[in-house]
Amino acid sequence: MDVVAGVLPSTIQLAAVALVLGVALGALLAVATVLPRAAWLRQLVSTLPPVGVALPTFWVGLILLQVFSFRLGLFPAMGDDGVASLVLPAVTLAVPAAAGLSQVLSRSLREALGEPYVETARAKGASRLRVQLGHALRNAALPAFTMLGLTVGGLLGGTVVTETVFSRAGLGRLAVTAVNSQDIPVVQAIVVVSALVFVTVTLVVDLVYPLIDPRIAVRAPALAA
């Protein structure tokens, strides 16, 4: 357990940065699939998420390394000290996360934009931007928010590959080493920790629902009249 605790901070740091990046990028992409007036631009943007989902993590990582580390020398290819060494692995992990999130978000955004309240808002003279971001996005956020729980699970899984490609110590690397050396107690500890993280995130997501959509809040049942 000490071993797992030792590498956990590094993985949490990586996953957290990747999550923030992924959410930001995913939201941006989703909005970009509905915001532009030009239909061709909307269509072009909406082809990106499926590509992002399809790209294997290790390949993205290696390509980023080739370009930004080996050729341009902007970031170190290995190690885990400093912000610079966090950039490439975090981007690598964020790509599939962002793609998945934006797929869900853009779909529900389009649905929300067809709802009557959008018409009402427009009729009251609200701007296009305000309708889309102020009204529709908030209502469309719920499914994507549910996705977030799954995304965290995906990030944990992604660290197995990412930490290996970027030579970082962490939970994923430890899992690989432990499996290879058949170190069962360590494998068990990793499984338990991962399960705990997953359950906790899902619980938090569930608890936060009412804050986004007050209709979900559990109220005391009204007395029958």
Binding site: V3, G6, V7, W59, L62, I63, L65, Q66, S69, F70, R71, G73, P76, A77, M78, G79, D80, T164, V165, F166, S167, R168, A169, G170, R173, L174, T177, V179, N180, S181, Q182
Partner: protein, 560 residues
């Protein structure tokens, strides 16, 4: 039968230039370099001390200071010299200890290091060493007779954890402190290999205080050594930093100098992905590595890089039949497989230009090696004839059969699969089906212990031919799980012979018998290739092809 000693490491100096960072991308490739030691958990022969040597071509004057960053492929979570068996871990551990003796990489000769002289009794069961009187451990404790005894006793106490050292000390009866600088080590039976074993890192000396620590603490780098470098920091799965011991002044004759190491620090970074090592070296993020995939080597032939190559001494990569299994016990099958392998093709198509097919059970760089190349020539017709004569006839799918049993067998291994995949194709042509069971290191160890396999596959690095006796003798490890045979008396007697000519004679006969009865089916020689940037000098191999950083230096010293 010719006798050769280790060929000097070859060094190529770049002439042509190519700078592309070729993405080796998906090719995890033929990563023959690191970790190729024997099977499993380092249960094998390995190393020795001695050093450097390879880089005689360096005419420049060494510069002191600086850091050298070296990529390794895996962190096996232990860097204690007396416990490690994995090549990457050895590359770290070797630098932290000095040994009683050293071995000249050119001649295989044992030369003084911490011991200035030694003698053994008639039957090689008792060895007396005279220590130099000025050497100390990194914590300042003198390296005296008492501490040598503490070390050897501690290695024996480590048992299986000291996988190599405990083999070298098999039959250990005890160490006697004769006076402050003289010790006698006694064995229950003749042990001619012990002298060479004292040159290995496995019997390298650690401060007596270290013997009090738990094996686990020692693994994490808490030990105090006697070598030119000491552990500065160790972050698991990430990096290991060694710093020089400024007072070190007892370099062996096998090295280029005797004072403190030139480098201030060595940083070993763990880079598991092959293409990342290639890219990191090409882009200057690391200075050197011994783990560049074969396919990527050509891009370093020039333009700011040099490489040096050395065949690992010891037992070559071989198939080891389990003769207690039905097919492994069938001599005709074994002999047919031995003749049905085109070793030349394996070496030329899959390995580097300098890699060689096996020409004996031992590699050419092993002291007292004898060439048995003729017996290992590719002879598919001969193989078919042996099988025909033994009643194995071709079945409907091309695989031979006898009494309803198909000639289908399995080899268990954890190393890179490509060489065996080629062997598999070659054997199909003589009607033998070889199934490949690729497992993890830990699984392969478990399978070995269970004895439930037809053929095993690995190599063993050891710069002493005693490795033959150690693994093949029915009275030692008996990898074939076979009944005692004629070859055992030859193998066992080799342990008692100290005269090199006589010993070579006996070992050559033994190797011949091992090949003749196909107790070993040699395939190719493991080699190690160091690739380094041009500002790195003096990085080379010791006699067992272990990396030696003692003579290494970097241009610009502290600036790098």
């Amino acid at each position: 039968m010719t006798r050769t000693t280790q060929p000097p490491a070859r060094r190529t100096r770049p002439t042509t230039a190519r700078h592309a960072v070729v993405p080796a991308m998906l090719s995890a490739g033929l990563l023959l370099a690191a970790c190729a030691s024997p099977g499993t958990a380092g249960s094998d022969g390995s190393g020795d001390a001695t050093d450097g040597a390879s880089d005689g071509a360096d005419e420049a004057t060494p510069v002191e200071g600086g850091n050298l960053t070296f990529a390794i492929t895996v962190d096996s979570h232990c860097i204690d010299p007396q416990q490690v068996g994995n090549n990457d871990a050895i590359a770290v551990a070797r630098q932290t200890v000095a040994s009683l003796t050293a071995q000249d990489p050119e001649t295989g000769e044992i030369v003084p290091w911490l011991a200035t002289s030694w003698e053994s009794n008639e039957d090689a069961s008792s060895f007396t060493f005279t220590l130099r009187d000025d050497a100390t451990y990194a914590d300042g404790t003198p390296i005296d007779a008492e501490s040598v005894k503490t070390n050897f006793d501690a290695i024996v106490a480590l048992g299986a954890k000291a996988s190599l050292g405990s083999q070298y000390l098999a039959g250990y009866e005890g160490t006697t402190v004769v006076d402050e600088h003289t010790v006698t080590v006694d064995f229950a039976a003749p042990s001619a290999q012990f002298l060479q074993a004292t040159s290995t890192f496995s019997l390298g000396l650690l401060s007596p205080a270290t013997a009090q620590l738990t094996p686990e603490d020692r693994c994490t780098g808490d030990f105090v050594g006697s070598g030119p470098f000491a552990v500065s920091s160790y972050t698991q799965d990430s990096e290991i930093v060694l710093e020089k011991v400024p007072d070190y002044a007892w370099g062996s004759e096998a090295n280029g100098h005797t004072g403190a190491a030139y480098l201030d620090t060595i940083t070993y970074t763990v880079v598991p992905e092959s293409s990342v090592r290639t890219g990191s070296l090409a882009s200057g993020q690391i200075d050197a590595t011994a783990a560049i995939a074969t396919v990527d080597l050509p891009q370093f032939a020039g333009d700011g890089f040099w490489s040096t190559y050395r065949a690992n001494p010891g037992v070559v990569f071989s198939l080891f039949p389990n003769e207690s299994s039905p097919l492994g016990g069938d001599k005709a099958v074994r002999q047919a497989i031995l003749k049905g392998i085109d070793r030349e093709q394996v070496a030329t198509t899959l390995l580097t230009e300098e890699d060689q097919p096996a020409t004996s059970v031992l590699s050419r760089s092993t002291p007292l090696y004898t060439d048995l190349g003729d017996a290992l020539a590719y002879d598919p017709e001969g193989a078919k004839k042996i099988l025909d004569d033994a009643g194995w006839v071709e079945g409907a799918d091309g695989v031979r059969e006898k009494d309803g049993q198909r000639l289908s067998t399995t080899v268990t291994f954890w190393q890179v699969p490509e060489p065996l995949e080629l062997v598999q194709q070659q054997l199909a042509q003589i009607g033998v089906e070889l199934n490949l069971q690729h497992v993890t290191v830990a699984e392969s160890q478990a399978i070995k212990e269970s004895g439930d396999f037809d053929f095993d596959y690995y190599n063993l690095t050891r710069s002493d031919p005693d490795v033959l006796r150690l693994i093949f003798s029915a009275n030692a490890r008996n990898v074939n799980k076979r009944e005692p045979a004629e070859v055992d008396s030859l193998l066992d007697s080799s342990a008692t012979i100290t005269d090199p000519t006589q010993r070579q004679d006996v070992l050559a006969q033994a190797a011949e018998l091992l090949v003749e009865d196909a107790h070993a089916i040699p395939v190719y020689e493991l080699s190690t290739t160091i690739v380094a940037a041009d500002h790195v000098h003096g990085l080379g191999f010791e006699a067992s092809s272990r990396l030696d950083f003692y003579d290494a230096w970097v241009e610009g010293g502290a600036g790098s």
